[in-house]
């Protein structure tokens, strides 16, 4: 039997008048049990939360206007609670803080920044990494995928446990062979196009799913019903389930939507259901899913001929079965499949991973934890700083505390009073921090790079607020404890006798403050080194020449639709037509189409290149996804492609309009290819063979960064589009003005040529590059921000301590000046004091940073985690800040007038 949701129950209990609490919570518990029996635990909890949500306002209204029920009114009043003294402490704390507004403001500001930043980052980390998936018993959900020995097609694996998608042939063989899963489901994403008669075609993000997926995830549509197995058969598959979002967007949440039809690529689909908001997009990936349709395995993918690695397989473990046991069994299954199909499945393993780990990925996880660690350091610095401020205030309050102690306040009472003050500070700043975090979370959410899962789930929710509250208590205790313990054992006689100075306590306090400054500096060094490393990585990235001119370039994908069950048709003529017409459009300088992927795009085509007459390089095992040594990226392009992107010609000529279907086969190679196949030779005029066809090299162009700026250029060749078969291609346009300015005209042209094909994934090249750099930019901005916060807060700490030292030593300084010390010597004396603390902090922080930045290593680019420049930058920044912070107190010291000081004694 499950319990009602605890937080909701507490909230309810709190909001109710005391006299009613028992009866109403009892009612809810009883009905909750009923709902659980009827509809399951999830539904019951949802019901309970809704009840609480709707009851809060009436409860509170009632609690305020009639604190007792009529039934309870007759009972005698309860005895006053012992927390009345707590209330008086609280009132006292408010007064104490209000009487020192500058201290209070600085402390609140520092804490607000620290807690706010931590809360914001935590809400991101929680949503992406920590929180469980929103499914019933989600711990039993696993992902199953294929693994190839030696990494995937993008090179060696960065995450050794990473799974690839599965091939339908293997998925079909897993189903009967396994005994460890309760259910297995598969899904594949796809873009479908909706063709409303008379309207512009529109793309929908569609998930093709097996009927079993609903059982695996234990989700059901809120309207209508799930798919059945007999809808997984070609011909009966034209049924669709809408996502909640699409239902609202397109059908205005009409309840009678079931039974209507949607005209999709291969016919009209009947709407049979609407998914609940939390289930419609199971993995909160971007872009959100619009539509679920049944997954039908094509006949061609039931036999092992070609390879298509695209299925995402999700399974639910049988109760009590561990991931390890499932992995062991799937190893056997995979071995049996490999034995039965030795060629097709060579080296092909199966991996089983907890679904959450699979979705999040080791790299994202460590990135998130690194951010959390960095913001945690900011919070620690903030705590150290406020502790420092509190100790400084303690000197001023010594007398007050001594008076209270003399009047009979016990030590516990004194400590409690002081702790309440710091907790009050923490609570108020947490309230401000939540407002700050509300804003920061939105900014962070929009700044998350593509590929980070569950971004949609990022929000300030109960969990995050709970964490913020816990954080606030913790920080309150952390920075309040030392000063409170210190201050609460006053030396009564000295403090009361001499108004200002308790020499002994003062020195101990001074040491504590110095230690806190050292700690602040050390922590700030770690942050600043991290910030410098990330800024350095970003700068290194910006310095890279992509090899082409990315400005003023608009790109779009054109994919004519395939007839169901057959390959996509050759659309070369249409593509050429589009290029010809777009080139004539106003505002277009050059236009071209490319099949095989644009730079910074997501798709590419790999083939093999050999030189006739030469022995081909030794071939490795030919498994899908592995690169053979003569693998080469191949693109087929229209004549103006290189001019459009601004790729330089190094020798020979560009592709021209004369390189038609009937002309001799030609190819342009990039410099890497020339270097690899024809080192020290003139490549132009040579004959190469690609896919078994011989062709003449007519030109050599410069290398460009194709996959991302961080990956070095690879061998690449360009074939004339006219001499190839092309079913989909990307349009690349160089504009004279703002790239999106030509879009409406280009859309019209494209629709004129291919009436039912919308332009897809329309982006400028600058946007594509920006996406590739999004994570680095975010890292740089966040770490830079944390570094600046750390620097400013610790500089404030240094200033505070120095100012205090100077005020304590005014007399000594006066004597020194009277005895003939020069002003520069006095400044040197004070600054020397500060610098000693800073240097100790720098050393400790430097050593710490040396070890800690190693964790950031995988996120750096173009420099080492121990790059001396980063350390130097951090040290210089801190020294400058420390100098500025101690200059003001030092100047004050130098301007001490000995006559005034000494007369005062």
């Amino acid at each position: 039997v499950t319990r009602p949701p605890r937080l909701a129950e507490r909230l309810m209990a709190w909001s109710l008048p005391a006299a009613d609490r028992d009866a109403i919570l009892g009612d809810l518990a009883e009905e909750f049990a009923g709902h659980e029996l009827a509809d399951g635990a999830r539904a019951a909890r949802r019901w309970y939360r809704r009840q609480v949500r709707k009851s809060l306002a009436p409860n509170l209204r009632r609690r305020i206007s009639h604190p007792t029920t009529p039934a309870a009114a007759a009972l005698p009043l309860r005895r006053a609670r012992p927390w009345e003294s707590l209330m008086s402490d609280l009132r006292y704390a408010v007064r104490a803080l209000a009487s020192a507004p500058s201290f209070t403001l600085v402390a609140l500001l520092v804490l607000t920044l620290g807690i706010g930043a931590t809360t914001a980052i935590f809400s991101v980390v929680d949503a992406v990494v920590l929180r469980g998936l929103p499914f019933d018993e989600h711990d039993r959900l696993v992902a199953i995928g294929e693994r190839f020995v030696g990494g995937d097609k993008f090179g060696p694996a960065t995450d050794p446990d990473a799974l690839m998608n599965a091939q339908p042939q293997n998925y079909l063989d897993w189903l009967p062979a396994q005994k460890v899963f309760e259910s297995i489901g598969a899904m594949a994403s796809r873009t479908t196009t909706i063709h409303e008669p008379g309207g512009e075609p529109e793309d929908l993000t569609t998930l093709r799913v097996t009927a079993s997926l609903f059982d695996v995830l234990r989700v059901r549509p809120i309207l209508g019903h799930a798919f059945t197995v007999d809808q997984e058969i070609d011909g009966r598959h034209r049924v669709a389930i809408l996502s909640d979002g699409y239902w609202k967007r397109r059908y205005a949440a009409a309840p009678d939507v079931l039974g209507r039809t949607i005209p999709l690529d291969d016919g009209a689909y009947e709407i049979v259901g609407v998914m609940a908001p939390e289930a419609a997009n199971p993995f909160a990936a971007a872009p959100p899913v619009d539509l679920w349709i049944p997954y039908v395995i094509p006949e061609s993918e039931r036999v092992r001929r070609g390879h298509g690695i695209y299925l995402q397989v999700v399974a639910r473990l049988k109760p009590g079965v561990s991931v390890e046991r499932a992995q062991a069994q799937m190893d056997q299954v995979a071995a049996a499949i490999e034995q039965a199909n030795p060629d097709w499945n060579r080296g092909n393993k199966v991996g089983v991973r907890p679904l959450r780990d699979h979705l999040v990925g080791a790299k994202t996880k460590s990135w998130m934890l690194m951010l959390l660690g960095a913001v945690g350091i900011v919070l620690l610095i903030a705590c150290a700083n406020v502790a420092n401020l509190l100790i400084a205030r303690a000197s001023a309050r010594e007398r007050e505390v001594a008076v209270r102690a003399a009047l009979g306040a016990g030590r516990w009472r004194l400590v409690r009073q002081l702790l309440i003050e710091s907790l009050l500070l923490a609570v108020v700043s947490t309230a401000c921090a939540i407002v700050l975090a509300l804003w920061a979370v939105q900014v962070l959410k929009n700044a998350m790079p593509d590929g980070v899962p569950r971004v949609a789930a990022i929000a300030l929710n109960y969990r995050v607020l709970g964490a913020a509250a816990g954080l606030s208590l913790l920080t309150g205790l952390l920075f309040g404890m030392f000063p409170a313990l210190q201050l609460s054992k006053p030396d009564l006689t000295t403090s009361l006798k001499d108004g200002t100075r308790g020499a002994g306590a003062g020195r101990a306090r001074q040491r504590l403050r110095s230690a806190l400054v050292v700690a602040e500096v050390a922590l700030a060094v770690v942050l600043l080194v991290g910030a410098s490393l990330f800024i350095g990585s970003f700068v290194a990235l910006l310095r890279i020449d992509p090899g082409f001119r990315p400005d003023h370039v608009l790109t779009a994908w054109v994919a004519p639709r395939a007839e169901p069950g057959s390959a996509r048709p050759d659309a070369t003529a249409a593509f050429q037509d589009i290029v010809a017409r777009v080139s004539q459009t106003a505002g277009v300088a050059h236009a071209a189409m490319v099949s095989g992927g644009i730079p910074m795009g997501t798709s590419f085509r790999i083939s093999g290149l050999t030189v006739p007459g030469r022995a081909p390089e030794e071939k490795g095992p030919k498994t899908p996804g592995q690169i053979s040594p003569d693998a080469i990226s191949i693109k087929s392009v229209t004549p103006d492609y290189h001019q459009t992107l601004g790729i330089a010609l190094r020798g020979g000529r560009f592709i021209s309009a004369t390189d038609t279907k009937d002309a001799p086969r030609v190819v342009i190679i990039n410099e890497s290819t020339a270097k690899k196949y024809f080192p020290g030779e003139e490549a132009v005029g040579k004959i190469v063979s690609i896919d078994g066809t011989e062709m003449t090299v007519i030109g050599v162009v410069s290398d460009i960064h194709t996959q991302s700026l961080e990956i070095d250029p690879r061998p690449e060749v360009y074939l004339p589009m006219a001499q190839q078969r092309n079913s989909t291609a990307e349009l690349v346009i160089r504009t004279t003005g703002e790239p999106y300015g030509v879009l409406p005209a280009v859309k019209v042209v494209a629709l004129n040529v291919l009436p039912d094909v919308p332009l897809r994934t329309i982006r400028t090249m600058d946007e594509l590059i920006g996406k590739r750099m999004a994570q680095r930019r975010l890292n740089m901005l966040l770490l830079g921000l944390f570094g600046v916060l750390g620097l400013v807060i610790s500089a404030a700490g240094i200033y505070g301590v120095m100012a205090y030292i100077v005020s304590q030593r005014t007399r000594e300084i006066g004597v020194r000046i009277a005895l003939g010390a020069t002003r520069s010597r006095v400044v040197g004396l004070v600054a020397g004091n500060a610098m000693l603390l800073v240097v100790i902090g720098l050393v400790i922080g430097g050593v710490g940073a040396w070890f800690l930045t190693a964790t950031a290593k995988t996120f750096l680019f173009g420099l080492d985690a121990t790059d001396p420049r980063a350390f130097a930058a951090a040290v210089v920044a801190l020294l400058v800040a420390a100098f500025v912070a101690s200059a003001i107190p030092a100047r004050r010291a130098a301007s001490v007038d000995p006559a005034v000081t000494l007369r005062a004694e």
């Binding site: 109710l16 009866a23 109403i24 518990a29 306002a57 209204r61 009639h66």
Partner: protein, 111 residues
């Protein structure tokens, strides 16, 4: 003195208590209203009105002994008072007078 007019929801509550007889407490009252009027009432709002009716003297409530099914919590049982029954009757009569003389079509449309 003529009792103050009852709101529609207050009438629902009193009627539910009457229907339920000796078994009228939070859960059953809520469910009675839900099944008869297809109206999902939040428990907090329910008790607000129950309290008001008790304060007006139309309902009386007693606490039961704690029961284990409810996590060891007691139930608050409600019974209708004579004043409550009068107020209910009066409300009905007032409405009936308002309906008087209206066309039969509209009356039928109601049921």
């Amino acid at each position: 003195m003529r009792p103050a007019a009852l709101g529609e929801f207050e009438q629902c509550l009193l009627l539910a208590v009457l229907h339920l007889g000796s078994d009228a407490y939070g859960v059953t009252i809520r469910q009675e209203i839900e099944t008869r009027t297809e109206r999902d009432v939040a428990i907090g709002a329910l008790y607000t009105s129950l309290d008001r009716l008790e304060r007006k003297g139309y309902l009386r409530s007693t606490m039961s002994d704690p029961t284990t099914v409810r996590g060891g919590r007691s139930k608050r049982y409600f019974t209708i008072t004579a004043a409550g029954a009068t107020a209910l009757r009066e409300s009905r009569a007032r409405l009936a007078r308002m309906w008087d003389g209206l066309s039969a079509d509209l009356r039928r449309g109601r049921s």
